[in-house]
């Protein structure tokens, strides 16, 4: 494990994070060889907007990974958040007013189930979240098939994802900024954050120190579920509707973004700035590859090789 003398809250200055941001620069410059448009402010802002969905989801994933757990229910939690928010819009003005909180609440409920199972029943998160994912998928299929749900996004959702409160900075990015600031605050300044790192490092010792480890874990999963759902709400706003497969594209990228940002998968170590770097890296890489005119096979190969290359550059664990 890479250990740094610097305490966690200062690890924003981790060289790994700096190199990660260096890699982002390299990617943009590399892309600009292909087309100078990659350097345009429009394109970069658009990437930030798209990154904000992954960013919000990865924030939740990071909380759970810091605990030493993982949340594989992301795909259908994202979808459920989006679908439920859109569905609430159908219930008149009060519905559309409550649409966004309702979507997030559904995600929180899913996270609550995950958290209960992981924290109180001690079922490994990797499997229970897989099962909740399957159950939520089942619920959504039943729901779509049986209730002819309203699935267009409300104007508020559209505004949240694609509107502009500050000229030329999409609201989605602002949402991510707010979520990010809250996350940094939570991780560095609160007992919750400190407990999260403690549990991730050694749960037994954290318990013996009088930390309510189960409640913290439960809370982390609720946060993860809520943020996945918020990601879904934003995504629905962006696409102006909800659809079943919305969340599929977010599971592996959100894990990859968190880990690429230097967070240790076994928990207890990682900084939010790293996650930001990871999210931007993944989004940019996907975007640049998608417009390059090569066969899909080539894109996949390059995607894999570049990620491994970057990890070798800075993600190596220290020898013990």
């Amino acid at each position: 494990m890479r250990q740094s003398i610097v305490p966690i809250r200062l690890r924003g200055r981790d060289p790994a994070v700096a190199i990660a941001f260096g890699c982002i620069l390299l990617l943009v410059l590399g892309g600009s060889i292909y087309s100078s448009n990659f350097l345009s402010a429009d394109y970069l802002l658009q990437q930030l907007k798209v990154a904000s969905f992954l960013g919000v989801i990865a924030t939740g994933m990071m909380m759970v990974i810091l605990l030493g757990q993982i949340d594989l229910s992301v795909p259908w939690t994202v979808t459920a958040g989006a679908m439920m928010a859109c569905a609430a819009t159908a219930y008149g003005t009060s519905g559309s007013f409550l649409a966004i909180p309702f979507g997030i609440a559904c995600g929180a409920a899913i996270g609550f189930v995950n958290g209960l199972a992981v924290a109180y029943l001690r079922i490994p998160s990797m499997i229970i979240t897989l099962a909740t994912n399957a159950v939520v998928q089942g619920l959504m299929v039943v729901y779509t098939g049986g209730f002819s749900p309203q699935d267009s996004a409300s104007p508020a959702m559209r505004f949240l994802a694609t509107g502009y409160m500050i000229p030329s900075v999409p609201n989605g990015v602002l949402v991510w900024l707010v979520v990010g600031i809250l996350a940094v605050f939570l991780l560095t300044r609160t007992t919750f954050g400190r407990s999260l790192y403690a549990i991730g490092n050694r749960e037994r010792a954290a318990y013996m120190s009088g930390i309510d480890t189960r409640r913290i874990a439960l809370l982390a999963f609720v946060i993860s579920g809520s943020l996945s759902a918020l990601g879904g709400v934003l995504l629905a706003g962006y696409a102006s509707k909800a659809s079943q497969s919305m969340g599929d594209a977010y599971l592996l990228p959100s894990i990859a973004a968190v880990v690429l940002g230097g967070t240790h998968v076994l928990g207890g170590k990682g900084s939010y700035l790293g996650t930001v770097a990871g999210v931007i890296l993944i989004t940019l890489l996907q975007s640049i590859l998608s417009v390059m005119q090569i066969e899909e096979a080539g894109r996949q190969l390059i995607y894999g090789v570049v990620i491994i290359g970057m990890l070798l550059l800075y993600g190596r664990q220290k020898l013990n």
Partner: protein, 331 residues
């Protein structure tokens, strides 16, 4: 001395509890399935079930090996897909060509696993993200081989491998048993196998004890690749064709994790056996089969599957209620 033979059994039971539980779970579910099947307990029904389950059984064994070292292989499903595409080119023609084809596919799987192992061990990268990246590479290669589904396989051979022995016993189960005997048992009883367990259980202590950790982990990843390749080969035998199917590759990866956990293998490493993982895979597959014998509205089927999976997982956590020392939660 109070240690008798009965003590021996007790220790054996202790260390194989997970496997036994998985076996019991599978048997219970399979009995429910077969007793409700219109055709009953016939060789055909067993053959169908085993042909379907064996792919996951192979991938689960692969996953198990890696998980024992406290790693994880999120590329297992894609190795299966890649080997399926490769097999749809190579496992054709004369018996000799077919034979070479099979060897080539297995070697390719071994190479994929070795690549994973090399990057993770010598690059000192975290397995989870490394294998996410290599799975993209493997899928890219699969797409190069099969831009559209197609290809073929030596059908005579494929039929042999997916039919029954003496009209009774599914060949696929025999192959599975043979794999356990020829790959798993030697591995688990070798020095490397033991070092793999040690790496998962207490890596530092294992290093202090001078165990060959790097080679053991490399062996685990490599053999895992080989086993996934077996799965890919079987997919080709069962479908006569190759397809670079992204969704199903990912599905196999995730299912293999579920199977491994159902099979009593600890994701923290150091515990469990491939036999358990195989039973876990069989049990997991039977969940899908149950759909067939119960008359559910089609739209409710995914929900039913999810709930059964939850229940199956829940069975494993019953023991928790009996824990009287809360510190045991954290083991």
């Amino acid at each position: 001395m109070t240690i008798g033979t009965s003590g021996g059994w007790r220790f054996w039971y202790q260390s194989n509890k997970g496997t036994l539980l998985a076996a019991a779970l599978f048997v219970a579910m399979f009995v429910i399935y077969v007793s409700n099947h219109p055709a009953g307990f016939t060789p055909n029904v067993v053959q169908t079930a085993s042909n379907k389950a064996i792919l996951l059984a192979f991938v689960a064994m692969a996953q198990c090996l890696v998980v024992i070292t406290a790693g994880i292989d999120l590329s297992a499903g894609m190795v299966l897909v890649l080997c399926n595409c490769l097999a749809s080119w190579l496992v054709v023609g004369t018996p000799l060509q077919t034979g070479f084809g099979i060897v080539a596919v297995l070697v390719a799987g071994l190479a994929c696993g070795t690549l994973n192992g090399l990057i993770i061990i010598f690059g000192r990268l975290q397995p989870i993200v490394t294998t996410i990246a290599t799975s993209a590479i493997f899928f890219g290669l699969a797409l190069l081989l099969r831009p559209t589904p197609g290809g073929s396989v030596n059908e005579a051979l494929a039929d042999v491998f997916t039919s029954t022995l003496f009209g009774m016993f599914p060949t696929s189960l025999a192959v599975l048993a043979a794999t356990i005997l020829l790959v798993w048992i030697p591995f688990s009883r070798s020095v490397y196998g033991r070092a793999a367990y040690a790496a998962g259980s207490a890596e530092n202590a294992a290093y202090m004890s001078g165990m060959p950790l790097k080679r053991a982990k490399l062996a685990a990843y490599a053999v895992a690749g080989l086993l996934s390749a077996m799965g890919g080969l079987y997919l080709t035998f069962y479908s006569y064709t190759g397809e670079a199917a992204f969704a199903s590759g990912n599905a196999y990866t995730l299912y293999s994790i579920a199977a491994v956990v159902l099979g009593g293998v600890s994701l923290a490493g150091g515990k469990g056996s491939a036999v358990g993982a195989v039973f876990g895979a069989l049990a997991f597959r039977t969940i899908g089969d149950l759909l067939f014998v119960f008359d559910f509205d089609p739209l409710w089927q995914p929900l039913f599957q999810g709930i059964v999976l939850m229940l199956a997982i829940g069975v494993g956590s019953i023991g928790l209620a009996r824990v009287r020392n809360r510190l045991e939660w954290f083991q």
